[in-house]
């Protein structure tokens, strides 16, 4: 476990010693800020209409926090490739992978440390979102519990995608290829569920199930559904398992 932490610290350091971390957080802040402004603005207009008599039940959790959490989940799909693309590709390009693989570390310690650092990097981005939510709590009384569940869902979803991104990063020396491929996979895992809109056959249900976004719905509502947790945890394990196999094959192919 100590070794995992050493690797994780090293990765965190390279996120924050380079502009990557700040760029990611800034991009996230701008995009999320835009969504926040939109959603809150819409909420205010509805509120004024209500005062003029055209009544509609209003709920901050349902009308502000829930769509915002869903937005974060989608923004994540775009930023996750930027977090994971360098994890192994950079080590392979610069040759430092030789240092890691010839040190008394297990493959698991290396990849888990790296994945953990990616998770912490993503969490740092979520903190920026949290900052916006502080304003909602300052000016309203939403229920905080469903929001926490939403954040848990975001972390689980990101965990799965980061594990897949980590795996893809082991496949190439080129960060752009790693990032591009990860982005493609993330996008596909998102849009896959669209087929359920017009198709009810079994295969469409399978695609809908495999889509990472569909499993976020219940979290956004504040509901912890064990089947969604099982799905995300499985994706995390599957991604890390593939990474481990790929690292092993790297030794055979190198």
């Amino acid at each position: 476990m100590k070794n995992v932490w050493v690797i994780c610290q090293k990765e965190l350091k390279s996120y924050f010693a380079s502009p990557i971390a700040y760029l990611l957080m800034a991009m996230f802040a701008v995009i999320f800020g835009f969504f926040f402004w939109n959603v809150v603005g819409y909420f205010v207009i509805i509120g004024m209409q209500q005062q003029m008599g055209r009544g509609m039940p209003m709920n901050v959790n349902e009308m502000v926090i829930r769509p915002l959490l869903q937005n974060v989940s989608v923004i994540g799909l775009f930023l996750i490739p930027l977090i994971t693309m360098r994890l192994f590709a950079e080590e392979k390009r610069s040759g430092t992978i030789e240092l890691l693989l010839t040190s008394p570390l297990t493959d698991f310690q290396i990849l888990f440390g790296k994945w953990l650092a990616a998770m912490l990097m993503y969490s740092a981005m979520l903190l920026v979102a949290g900052l916006n939510f502080v304003f909602i709590f300052a000016y309203g009384q939403p229920d905080w519990r469903p929001m926490l569940v939403g954040f848990l869902g975001l972390l689980l979803q990101a965990g799965g995608l980061l594990a897949i991104g980590t795996f893809i990063s082991t496949l190439t020396k080129n960060q752009i290829i790693a990032g591009g491929a990860t982005f493609g996979v993330c996008l596909l895992l998102w849009v896959m569920e669209w087929v359920t809109g017009y198709e009810t056959a079994e295969w469409a249900k399978v695609m809908g199930y495999l889509s990472v976004v569909s499993h976020f719905e219940s979290f956004a509502k504040g509901v912890i559904d064990s089947k969604d947790i099982v799905f995300y945890v499985s994706v995390i394990f599957f991604g890390l398992f593939l990474t481990a196999r790929s690292l092993e094959s790297l030794r055979w192919r190198a």
Binding site: L99, S103, P104
Partner: protein, 315 residues
């Protein structure tokens, strides 16, 4: 300390290391010599558990590289061809990181980092970013990284590549000074470096060991070969190819290189096999063919040339 038996590494299309066997004793400093692509790096990568061999056995410090990779890794310090450095780290920070993953206890870490920084003379740049360092400093940081956990075995892959002559000498001096405490295998394709540092030499070419001896013996043996320059005036319509063929048939000749034509005379350079003199036979062959022998003179053989001969003649 290192024992290699019948080591083979096959890639999809090529055989990088072909049935290599050798042994390195404790405290020895061994030069691993061969042209680029001979299989030096592959052998070293197998020894350091970076990649597995296709066949054969390798033991480092008494542990098998396949069965006990963790033990092997703890006992080995490895400097790959390109030093494995993180440019965004400072030197001391980098060495601390390496010390940690090599398993140095944390209360000992600061002392070790200081020690190796001084030993490899990088203490003066310990707070500098690695990306700002010159090539020579980087190489020394790479070396410091390899010895930080005080491993009994050191494997250095071309530790002097890309350095200027002064840095080369300094690095070799440094490696030499480490020899007492460590068993060192160092690879290079520069012969003079081996001459200057190593006691024993293993010459490898196309994946095979072609010579393995002490430095003294090898120098002696290699210089037993002879190189001769010949100038022939070909008659009876014989061309350059004919003359070359004739010369190659002379007993004891290992190689004939055509050097072109001047004033109607053909020039060749002939190299003999180990310990053979071929001048009289060459002269006879030329005269018996009815050609004119214009010049026949011995050429001084440099160690480099013989090394080339040794590694190329096994094609």
């Amino acid at each position: 300390m290192i024992k290699v038996e019948g080591l083979t590494k096959r890639y999809a299309r090529t055989v990088a290391v072909d049935n290599v066997s050798f042994e390195v004793k404790k405290g020895q400093i061994v030069g691993f010599l061969g042209p680029n692509g001979a299989g030096k790096t592959t052998t070293m990568r197998i020894l350091t558990c970076f990649m597995p061999a296709t066949g054969g056995k390798a033991e480092v410090a008494g542990f098998d590289v396949i069965e006990k990779p963790m033990e092997v890794k703890k006992n080995i310090g490895y400097l790959p061809e390109t030093p494995p450095l993180y440019p965004e780290m400072e030197v001391a920070e980098y060495l601390t990181f390496v010390g940690r993953i090599k398993g140095i206890p944390s209360d000992d870490l600061a002392r070790r980092v200081k020690e190796v920084s001084e030993r490899c003379s990088v203490a003066d740049v310990s707070n500098k970013l690695i990306s700002k360092l010159s090539k020579g400093y980087r190489q020394r940081v790479g070396l410091a990284q390899a010895i930080i956990h005080n491993p009994p075995v050191l494997i250095l892959d071309e530790p002097t590549s890309g350095l200027d002559p002064k840095q080369r000498v300094e690095t070799l001096e440094l490696i030499k000074s480490l020899a007492g405490d460590h068993t060192i295998v160092l690879s290079t394709h520069v012969l003079s470096e081996v001459e200057a540092t190593c006691e024993d030499v293993i010459i490898i070419s196309r994946g095979k060991v072609v010579a393995m001896d002490t430095m003294d013996n090898l120098t002696h043996r290699l210089q037993g070969a002879e190189a001769v320059a010949v100038e022939v005036e070909a008659r009876n319509g014989a061309g350059e190819a004919d003359v070359q063929r004739k010369l190659e048939q002379v007993g004891g000749v290992s190689r004939v290189v055509a050097k072109g034509e001047a004033l109607g005379r053909l020039r060749f350079e002939i190299e003999s096999l180990q310990g053979r003199t071929v001048r009289t036979e060459v002269a006879r062959a030329v005269v018996e063919s009815g050609w004119g022998l214009f010049e026949l003179s011995p050429v001084a053989v440099s160690l480099e040339e013989v090394f080339l001969q040794l590694t190329e003649s096994k094609k």
